[in-house]
């Protein structure tokens, strides 16, 4: 069974009488353990698609089945629980809480789970160590470099051990070296079995994935395996 199964998915925005179609009848499936990139120019609907797949937005017509459950039948609170436990988000602009420590930023998703408070710190510490930030736990988020901020965001996305990680232009605000370090983390996570969906407009970034879904004007115009995959290493160097 696929992790994600999308059938004839459409999304339109209504503004009074004006109806703007954003996604037009998409059909695709993503298996557990895949590393897929959704690629397209701005305005192609890739962010909207990610929001729908990540339970932040609802579809207008069609069907979205996640791990065997029809998402359109879920209530608001059930959707919140899916966001809490089944997916993790990494955003282009990091979205860390200002004036808050690295540790507390990573803890944030735990507040909305049934986890008991005494276990929070240990879990957050482990997640931060896995992205190489074990030495920065008590720094304020504002004091970090861009690459470090994005790694905190990845630790935050990982903390509830979700089946699926969404990365929305994760390297967009980073220099190329930090960007490669971040991509390396995603490739490692994928190697450990996480399903990763990367949203980007850059062909080069998309080529770090195993598969590229191309969107144009809200329609799926390509779905191919990456033949010449980019492989990042932890020092910010590329190896082929």
């Amino acid at each position: 069974m696929s992790l994600i199964d999308v059938k004839n998915l459409s999304k339109e925005y209504r503004n009074g009488e004006v109806v703007t179609p954003v996604l037009r009848g998409l059909n695709f499936a993503i298996q557990k353990g895949e590393f897929a990139a959704i690629m397209g120019p701005s305005g192609s609907g890739k962010s909207t698609l990610m929001h729908i797949l990540g339970f932040l937005d609802t579809l207008s017509s069609g069907q979205y089945i996640f791990d065997g459950r029809d998402v359109s039948t879920l209530s608001e609170d059930e959707l919140a629980e899916m966001r809490s436990c089944s997916v993790g988000f990494v955003f282009q602009s990091f979205n860390l809480l200002p004036r808050t420590t690295v540790l507390d930023n990573a803890i944030l998703p735990l507040m909305y789970t049934k986890d008991k408070r005494p276990e929070w710190s240990a879990k957050a510490k482990a997640a931060l160590e896995s992205v190489g930030l074990g030495h920065r736990l008590h720094h304020m988020s504002d004091q970090l470099s861009g690459g470090e901020k994005q790694r905190v965001a990845i630790a935050r996305a990982l903390i509830n051990k979700p089946e699926l990680i969404f990365a929305d232009e994760p390297t967009g605000n980073l220099d190329s070296k930090s960007g490669l370090q971040v991509m390396k983390i995603f490739q490692d996570l994928n190697a450990q079995g996480h399903t990763v969906i990367l949203v980007t407009h850059e062909k080069y970034t998309a080529e770090h994935a195993q598969r590229i879904l191309r969107l144009k004007d809200g329609a799926l115009v390509g779905d191919e395996k990456v033949r010449d995959r980019q492989l990042a290493d932890g020092n910010g160097e590329l190896r082929k």
């Binding site: 609170d77 919140a80 507040m111």
Partner: protein, 412 residues
Amino acid sequence: MHYGNSMHCSWKTLAANKARSFLSMLGVIIGVMVVIIIISVGAGAQSLILNQIKSLGSNLVGVLPGQSEEKGPPVAALGVVITTLKYEDGKAIAQSGNPHIIGVASYVRGIDTVVVGDKKTDTNFLGTTASYINVEDANVETGRFFTEEEERAMGRVAALGSQVAQDLFGNDDPLGKQIKIKRTPFTIIGVMKARGVSGFQNQDNQIFVPLPAAQKLLLGINHVSFMRVKVDSGEYVDSAMDFVKQILRAEHGITNAADDDFTVRSATDGLAALTQITNALRFFLAAVASIALVVGGFGIMNIMLAAVTERTREIGLRKAVGARHSDITRQFLVETVTITLSGGIIGALFGILLSVIAATVAQNLGYKWDLVVTFSSVLFAGAVSVAIGLIFGIVPARRASRLNPIEALRYE
């Protein structure tokens, strides 16, 4: 999200914005402080008044004209003139032969500017009976008080309160001199010993004249304002009150107690009525002060609405990592209540401090002022602070919970 976690988060947010948190608390701080001070100072002033009344003596029975409600103040106390009590009523009580009634004094009162030579003073003149000296335990400094014969004969004689004597004659001896009250000459026969302020009345700024003279020559009336009956001991006050009522009913030809045209009260009754009045006054003042609390509440609502807008991205993020509507609502509600409750606690502390200072100052000035800070008023302040947080926090909290997470995440 558990309440403990919400509290913890709120503290961190508040601590991160110390100046703003303090300013937003200010309205609640001031409101709670004022309410506590008013309740406490009001209770202190009340104790002061009641202590003074008690010092008048608990074995006095007052007779006032007009009927009164069971517990309420007599209408005569509210300034309505009722003319049902007469000079003869007092005489009837005095001559009734009740062994426990040891004196009856009747009173009328007027105000005039009294002139002697180049000195003048605004003063009260008190038309009373010769029994005044006995009933009120007053003493004469020099000279004498008027006699019952002078009283009945409408004698134009006067005794001066110590302050009046000082104002009009300085160090001269006033005895035998004449003063004019309402253009009627009176001969001064005595000066009273100083008594100080008692029961709202400066006893020393009065001129004492025989009651019939005051009625006929000065005021042109034939009723008395009130009477005081002195009972030999506190334990006979109740029976003496019943006795006085029977005498007055007989005098006025009343057969049914419901038709009474007078009110008989003991000092204890007076205390109860006064306590009721001052209590009403205190709660009225406290109600006015709570307007400050409402204003503080709106201030906090305003600040929280601004905070919701400012923290739009944070709210979006929290939703993206799994916060439900109710989690966001609770977070902002707890944050608002944390602000108002902290403000309430600070305000209560300042209020208590200022009440203690007020009481200390009053006590050092020689007043019998009790420091009254009740646990219930502090509890009330705390409950009101929490209520204000909940009432004024709900609008910002709901607005926050309804933010669309996608738009909130994109918000710059």
